[in-house]
C-alpha cells in the first residue's frame, strides 16, 4: 500500500540536517530486492503491502518454527547513530509472542560481535497487522567497523514484515539547546544537587557500598518535551582505595543498553570524565538512560552528572523516521468494534463523575470502553488498546495520559477528527500538562495549547475548585471561563470538532459543576 498525504518538511529538514546525516542504509525500503538480507525461515518481498514505496521484506515462520532474519553488515566509522525501522507482525494464535532484535556492532572484518538487545513484547502493545515504528540510538566505538541487525522471531508470529530501515549518523556537537533538566533518581543515590540548573549539570552522588562487587547506579526520568536529545554524562570517582569500578553501563529503564563505557583508569582520582549519548524520547519502549557502575571490586563514592540538549522536536524526529511519507498516513486500524458502536471512551480516573456516561446513555450511544491501567513494566496503557474508529462518531479521552497513547494512536485520533469525528478531552491528574500533552500530536488536535507540566491551578469558584491553566488557540471558542481562565474550549479541526474541558472534578466545590443541570444539558447537546 502506498501511503499518501506527504508533508512539507523543508524547514524541518534544514534543522534536522544539522543533527543527523542522510540515511546511510542502502536499499532502505527493499525496492531493489533483498540486498543481502537472509533468514532461516521463508523470506520474500511483499507485493504491494509495503509501508513505504512498493516493497517490504516479509519473513515467515514456515511451519510454526522460531526463525531469524539477518541483515547485511553496513560498514560505518565510529560515532553515534540513530537506527529505525518499521515492522509489522501477524500472529499465529498466541497472545504474547516475542520479537527480539539484536543490533550487532562489528569490529574489523572478523566475527567479533557484541550485542545490544531490545525486546519487544506483544500483548498490551500488540497491534497485529499494523505497521509500527521502532528506533534506537547506539554508538560504534573506536575499532568498530559496522553494524548489522538480527531479528529473532518466536513461533507465535507467523510473519514479520520489515520496511524503511534507516541509519543516520548523529553529528555532535550540538549547540546550547532548550533544556530543562529534571529527573527522579531511584535507588543507590544519596544526594542531589543543582537538579534544576537549566543548561547545567545535575549531579547525583552515589554512595553505594558494593563491598563484594556487583553493581549499583541510578536511573533518571526527565520532564522535557518529546524529541531527540543529546545527553552528556560526566562521571568521577571521588575516593581511591579499594575502588575498582571497571565499567559504566548506560541503559534505558527498559534495559536497552545505549552504551557501555570501559573505565580502565577510573580508580578514585576524582577527575571528571565526560561521555555523550543520544536518546529519542518517548517513542514506545524505553526512556532516558540510567546508569550503573559495574565492578569486580568495590567502591565507596562515585558521582555522575548529566546535561540534556534537545536537538529536534518530537514531530521533527517523527517526520524523519516516517521519511517524508507523512506521519499522519501511518495510522493503525486497530481492532474492529462491535457493530453499531458510535463512541469510544478512554476511561480515566474519575470519569464516572464527569457526567459523560449518563449523557452518552441519554443520547442512546453504544459505547466501547478502554480502561486506564498501569501496564507491565510500570507504564500507563489503555486496556484494550485504541480500536478501529471505523463507524465511531465520538472519541472521549477522559483524563488519559499521553503515555497511554502511542504516537501512532494519537495520529489515528487526529485523522479521525480531521475526517469529521468529535473528540472530547477532559482533565484531571493525567491530562493536559499533567498528562504530558505538551508538544504531542494530541495537543496539535486541541483548541488549546498546553504550557508544560503542572498546569493544575486552584480557583475560588462555587462550581469548580481545580482547572488546567490552558491557552485557547486563535480560532477556538471559549465557552466557559473561571477567573478569566478558559474552562471549556471548542474548535473545528479538519472536518471535525474538538472540545477541551479544562475544568476538573477535583476538589470539593460548593456546587460542583459536574452535578449541575446546565452541565448535563451541555453534554446532552454535545453528544446527542
Amino acid at each position: 500500500m502506498r501511503y499518501l498525504l506527504p508533508f512539507l518538511l523543508v524547514s524541518l529538514c534544514i534543522r534536522g540536517g544539522e543533527v543527523w546525516s542522510d540515511n546511510l542504509w542502502p536499499n532502505s525500503s527493499f525496492e531493489e530486492g533483498l540486498s543481502g538480507w537472509t533468514t532461516d525461515g521463508g523470506v520474500d518481498l511483499t507485493d504491494g503491502l509495503a509501508f513505504h514505496e512498493l516493497s517490504a521484506l516479509r519473513a515467515s515462520n514456515g511451519g510454526a518454527l522460531n526463525f531469524r532474519v539477518v541483515s547485511p553488515v553496513i560498514e560505518q566509522p565510529s560515532g553515534w547513530y540513530l537506527l529505525s525501522f518499521w515492522y509489522r507482525v501477524e500472529l499465529s494464535g498466541a497472545e504474547r509472542p516475542s520479537l527480539l532484535v539484536y543490533v550487532d556492532r562489528h569490529a574489523g572484518t572478523g566475527a567479533r560481535q557484541r550485542r545490544d538487545s531490545i525486546y519487544f513484547y506483544y500483548g498490551h502493545h500488540a497491534d497485529p497487522g499494523q505497521w509500527q515504528l521502532t528506533f534506537l540510538t547506539f554508538r560504534l566505538r573506536p575499532g568498530d567497523s559496522g553494524v548489522g541487525l538480527r531479528f529473532a522471531v518466536d513461533s507465535h508470529l507467523s510473519s514479520l514484515d520489515i520496511d524503511l530501515v534507516q541509519l543516520r549518523r548523529l553529528d555532535p556537537p550540538v549547540g546550547e539547546g532548550e533544556v530543562t533538566c529534571i529527573y527522579t533518581d531511584t535507588y543507590g543515590t544519596q544526594r542531589v544537587a543543582d537538579a534544576d540548573g537549566a543548561n547545567g549539570f545535575a549531579e547525583q552522588v552515589s554512595a553505594g557500598k558494593q563491598t563484594r562487587g556487583g553493581k549499583t547506579g541510578g536511573s533518571s526520568r526527565f520532564d522535557n518535551p518529546p524529541g531527540l536529545y543529546r545527553i552528556t554524562f560526566r562521571f568521577r570517582q571521588m575516593e581511591p582505595g579499594e575502588a575498582t569500578v571497571t565499567r559504566i553501563r548506560l541503559a534505558t529503564d527498559s534495559g536497552v543498553t545505549i552504551d557501555d563505557i570501559t573505565v580502565d583508569d577510573f580508580a578514585g582520582d576524582g577527575e571528571w570524565r565526560e561521555f555523550s549519548v543520544w536518546s529519542l524520547y518517548p517513542f514506545g519502549t524505553g526512556s532516558f538512560p540510567g546508569w550503573e557502575w559495574l565492578g569486580t571490586g568495590s567502591y565507596r563514592f562515585a558521582s555522575a552528572t548529566y546535561r540534556l540538549m534537545r536537538a529536534v522536536t518530537h514531530r521533527e524526529a517523527w517526520e524523519l523516521l516516517a521519511s517524508g511519507v507523512g506521519a499522519d498516513a501511518a495510522v493503525p486500524a486497530g481492532e474492529p468494534l462491535p457493530e453499531g458502536t458510535t463512541t469510544w471512551l478512554g476511561f480515566g480516573l474519575y470519569t464516572e463523575l464527569t457526567g459523560v456516561l449518563p449523557a452518552l446513555e441519554t443520547a442512546g450511544r453504544k459505547v466501547a470502553v478502554s480502561w486506564l491501567v498501569t501496564s507491565r513494566g510500570g507504564g500507563m496503557s489503555l486496556e484494550p488498546r485504541l480500536p478501529s474508529l471505523q463507524g465511531v462518531k465520538t472519541v472521549v479521552l477522559a483524563n488519559i495520559p499521553l503515555r497511554a497513547l502511542s504516537p501512532l494512536e494519537q495520529l489515528a485520533i487526529q485523522a479521525f477528527v480531521r475526517g469529521g469525528g468529535m473528540l472530547v478531552v477532559t482533565g484531571g491528574f493525567y491530562a493536559y500538562g499533567h498528562g504530558g500533552y505538551a508538544g504531542s500530536f494530541l495537543e496539535e488536535s486541541l483548541p488549546v495549547t498546553v504550557r508544560g507540566s503542572f498546569d493544575l491551578v486552584r480557583v475560588e469558584d462555587r462550581a469548580c475548585s481545580w482547572l488546567h491553566d490552558l491557552s485557547p488557540r486563535e480560532q477556538a471558542t471559549t465557552v466557559w471561563q473561571i477567573e478569566e481562565r478558559p474552562a471549556l474550549v471548542e474548535w473545528s479541526f479538519g472536518k471535525g470538532r474538538v472540545v477541551a474541558v479544562a475544568a476538573t472534578v477535583l476538589g470539593q466545590p460548593e456546587e460542583p459543576f459536574w452535578e449541575a443541570t446546565a452541565w448535563g444539558d451541555y453534554l446532552d447537546g454535545l453528544l446527542r
Binding site: 529534571i182 529527573y183 527522579t184 533518581d185 531511584t186 535507588y187 543515590t189 544519596q190 544526594r191 542531589v192 537538579a195 534544576d196 554512595a207 557500598k209 558494593q210 563491598t211 563484594r212 562487587g213 556487583g214 526520568r221 526527565f222 520532564d223 476511561f347 480515566g348 480516573l349 474519575y350 470519569t351 464516572e352 463523575l353 480502561w371 486506564l372 491501567v373 498501569t374 510500570g378 500507563m380 486496556e383 495520559p401 491528574f429 493525567y430 500538562g433 499533567h434 498528562g435 504530558g436 507540566s453 503542572f454 498546569d455 493544575l456 486552584r458 481545580w466 472534578v505 477535583l506 476538589g507 470539593q508
Partner: protein, 627 residues
Amino acid sequence: MRVLSILLFVLSSSSQALEVRVWPEKLWVKPGEAVVLRVTSEPGAVIDCRVVHQVDTVAASFEGMTDGEGQASFSFTPPADWGYEAVVTAVLGEARATASEVFSCAASPFMVAVDYSVPEVYGHDVLPDGSPAPEGEVQNPQLAARIDQQVARFRHQYLTVGELMGPAFCSFSSIVPPVPNYYKAAHYNYSVNAIRQLIRELHDNGIATLIYVNACASGIAGTEFARQHPEYLAYSADGTPFVGGLSLAPVEIHQWYIENYPDSMKQVQGWYKENPRPEAVTNYKPKSLHGGYPGFINAWLDFRDPKLSEIGAEKIIEGQEYYGYMGVRYDGEYRVPSIGDPLAPSRDFRDYRGVKQPVGHEAEEMTARNLNLAFGKMREHDPDFLIGLNYADFRNDGRGAGSVKAPVTGSVSPGVWILDEVAKGALNPSHPDHHWEDFIRNMSEQNDRTRQVGNYLFAGWGGGPGQKVVDTRQVKAVSWACGLRWICGGYSKAQWFADVKHEYNRFALRYSQYLFDNRLRRLSPEEAAAVITVESGSPLLWEHFVQRLGDEYMVVHLINAPLEKGLTADAQPPLPAEGVRITLTGGMGGSSVKLVSPELPVQALEIAEGAVSVPRIENWGMLIVTP
C-alpha cells in the same frame, strides 16, 4: 477456649500413670495485671506450682488440688517485668508428673516480642446460603477454624505481637470498611466479624495486635481522598501523581459490590461456586474483586502540610474504635519528602505546582513534626497505643542521607518498634549483611543506637518464595545476641525459622530480660577481653556478645561459630563445642555464674581459680554472671 485443647498435648510431661498440664491464660500481661495459670490433671491430684523468673528465682508458690474434673487454677500477679516459667508438679498417690509453661510481663509487648508475625485470616463471613453473617460471632466455620489456628500458632511460637494485614493497607482510605465483608485487592478479602474476633482472641491470649498501614492513598476510598485533596498528592517530575500503580478496570465492579451489598455478596458467592478458581479466567468478575486495587495503588502524599498527618492519625484512631486493635505498624511514615518505601529513597517529589519537596534537615524536621503530631494524637486517645515503623535509616553509618536522621529519631522515641527491612536480603552474597562478621557488626551497632533511645529493633522479612533456609538455630541465636528480633511467618514469603520457632522462642521469652532489656550495654571486643576470656576446642562467637547491666549482671553469649563465612542456605551446622573454659577477670570474678541454654537445663557453674568450665555447648548458651 478452643486454643487450649489444641495445644495441650505439647505442654505436658507425665509419668506413665499421671499427666499434668499448665496453661497461662495469657502469654503477656502488663505490670499489675494477673495471669491465671490453669492446671489440668487427674481429679484429686495434689498440685504444687512454682513460678520462676530471672534465672532460677522463685517468684511465687501455690499449692492446691484438682477438682472433680481434674482442674485447678492459680492467679499470679508478676512482681516485675520479663519472662516467667510456671513449673507444676502433680502427685496422685505414688504417681507424680511435672509440666511447665512460660509467659511474660512487660509494659510493652515489644519488650518481650521474640519474633513478630502476621495472623492471616482472610475470607468472608457467610451463612450457608451465601448471604452475609450478621454482625457478631463468626458464622463461617472455615473462618472460625482459621482464627483458632492462627491464635494457636502464636501461642505455640510464643509471639506477643501480631500484625493485621488487610483491613487498612493505606491509612488514608478509611480503615472502617464500606460494607462488613469487603475486598482490599490481592487476597485481602476480609470480614469485620473475623477481624474483630481474631483481635479479641489474640488479646484474650495476651497477644497484642497492630494494624498495618502505609502512608499512601490506595483503593476506592484512597482514590476519592486524592480527588478531594489534590493539594496533598505528591507528583512526579512529569506532573503525574507519584503512584505505585493505577487500575480503573476493577472500579466498576467494586462500586457495584458496595452499592448492592448484601445482595451483591450473595451473588459473588454464587460466582465462586460456579468457578472456584476465578483467577484463571480472564475478566471474570470475582477476579476483579480480589485482583488489582481499584483506582490508585499507593499514591504517595506530600506531607509538608501537617494537617495531613493529623488526618492519618484520625483514620487510625477511628479504626481502633471500630476494631479494637492496640496499635499501628507503619510501612512508610508521614515523611517529607514523600516516601512509601524506605528501600526506594527517591527524592524528587513535587507538589501540584511542581515545587519540589525539601530534603535533608528541613525535611527531617518536618517529618519529626508530623510524627509527633500523629503519635501525640494517637497516644492522647490511648496512652498505651503501640507504634511500629519501617525505618531502616537506623542502620545508617553516618554517610549520605542517613546522617540527618536525628530529628526523626528523637521524635519516634521511646517505645517504638523499628523495622530494618534491609536485612531481609542477607542470604544474597552481595548484601551488606551477608557475611556473619558484617551481620553481627551491623546489627549490634544498629541495636545499640536503637536501644539508646528506648526503641526496639526488628528485622524482616526472612526468606523468599521457595527459598531454602539458613541454619535457623544459628541465625536466631546470633540475632538475639545482637538484640535483634526477626519478623517471620505469616506471609508466605517469610518462612524462615519455622522449624525452631517453638523451642527457641520459648527459651527467648523465658529469658527475655537477658536478651532484650534496653538497659543492657554491649561491651566492645576490647572491653570484653578485659573481663573475660573464652577458650574452646572449636571456635565460638562471643567477643561481640558480652553485655552488662550496670553492676547487676553480665551476659555472655556462647554460640558455635558457623562453618560458612556467610549466611548460606543449607549450611552445615557447626559441631558442638566441647571443653569450653571461661576465665573471668577485671573484677568479674563473680559470685555466681549460671548457664542457660535452649539445649541444656540451667546449670550453676562452679568457679575455680576465677574460671568456669562448660563441658559442651550444643549450639548456644548464655552465661549469666552476677558479681
